[in-house]
Subunit: 243 residues, 2 copies
DNA sequence: CACTATCGGATAGTAGCACTATCCACTATC
DNA sequence: GATAGTGGATAGTGCTACTATCCGATAGTG
């Protein structure tokens, strides 16, 4: 197909496609004549992947290039694939490595992961992000968030246990990398959206337990509260306004 | 304190503080003379909150202003607070409301939430983000992600059940809003970091089950696989390389 | 008191990002 | 053979988030 069809089917404007070609996000089409090139279905799929990473995942063009460049490179190990996807996804923390507060937060992040028994490289980019959260929480005087760490660890691990094995089972490295990228990036957006929706649901249906009324302050061990049923519309006394 | 001390203690350069004052992120200090103002501890705390939202949460200056403006406004209901925090956090989806594909994805998002029995407003911004994920997954031909939706729902709900009630228990609206903002934004960053670390851990310790070897393709119902122990360094056969 | 540093406030400038527009010589197609 | 479209190059745009500079006034110091 020519560039116009690529643009129509992907919804990406032609100048933007040319921009992605220049930036190396999209491999060039097969040159037919001096000013004619032919694009295949894989170009269309790549374009859709680029848009998904950019718009849903919020990746920058540079981060997207990092991800898709691994798709084009001959072969790389699982570890590199995962590391690449993580490096593209984590929010860059502008931290001074000499700042003692930062070093302390970073050290605590490593210590916490070690306590969990998780097998993680010391230079994992997610450790920086975790340290950034630790540092911000400490500066804001929010000890509640850190008290709930085990909950987050459990949620993350349960998700990882279903997210990771399917990608490890893939034989083709390119396919594996694509699965890692999509799973990591779209999975994060999906989880974030679902968490927000759950927040709204709990916020709308929660009421304080009579025997243990609402506490005046937000201590490290808050009351559990009573929530609406976990699942199933049948058990919900409140008809959902959605739809 | 004067602006220099504010800058020193917060780590934010003076021109940036002036910029935040202009943009209305930071309330002005108490004017002493024609060119002297005094700042309090609350200004320092606000500055730290701004930096946390910006650097850890990745919020734009405009979104940060939306959040902190609610802190300054007299009083607003819980619902507005949660809605504000969500609107600031969700990734903007540039979707054409007339696109039938988009409408279908959006409709499926609403239907799924309704099936869960969750009480969510139809105009919740997270529904747009969820629809964006649905649409991207459909375009990429990734049906696996959608097959795992119940896992994400469970993870999101369990998190929300511990994250939301403590903020609802707060009496002071300003304090409540601050807790909602910090919990929503920092919690998302924390969850994302922990999920990435868990990915790395599972990726490093997983091996296919002998009786059911690695499947050649990534079907909608992948093999469960065998993972390292959930918790506790004692049970972990692999000494963690961290530290 | 003089002198220097700093202040609040205003205006202007900058760097980076992600496109977007225009131009060109050429070519496919009606 | 007119017209629209093509690949490739270069330049320009709009936005965001700061930074820099200047000003007259004032605080602190000796």
């Amino acid at each position: 197909m020519r560039i116009a069809e690529l643009s129509d089917r992907s919804g990406v404007p032609i100048p933007t496609i040319k921009y992605y070609l220049r930036e190396g996000l999209l491999p060039p089409g097969e040159l037919i004549g001096r000013n004619q090139a032919r694009y295949q279905e894989r170009h269309l799929h790549r374009l859709r992947l680029i848009r998904a990473l950019r718009e849903v995942g919020g990746l920058s063009v540079a981060a997207t290039r990092e991800v898709v460049s691994v798709l084009d490179s001959p072969a790389s190990g699982r570890h590199e694939q995962v590391g690449m996807a993580h490096r593209a996804v984590v929010r860059r923390v502008a931290a001074d490595p000499d700042d003692p507060q930062w070093r302390d937060a970073r050290r605590r992040a490593e210590a916490w992961v070690r306590e969990l028994g998780w097998r993680v490289e010391p230079d994992a980019p997610a450790l920086d992000q975790l340290a950034g959260v630790f540092l911000a929480a400490a500066r804001l005087g929010d000890e509640w968030l850190l008290a709930q760490l085990p909950r987050y660890a459990e949620a993350g691990l349960r998700l990882a246990e279903v997210e990771v094995p399917p990608t490890l089972a893939l034989a083709d490295p390119a396919e594996s990398m694509a699965a890692v990228a999509v799973g990591t990036v779209l999975g994060e957006a999906l989880l974030a959206a679902v968490r927000l929706l759950a927040h709204e649901h709990v916020s709308a249906t929660w009421r304080p337990t009579p025997e243990r009324p609402a506490a005046p302050d937000r201590s490290a061990t808050p009351p559990a509260g009573e929530c609406a049923p976990r699942n199933g519309a049948d058990a919900d006394p409140h008809p959902p306004p959605v739809g």
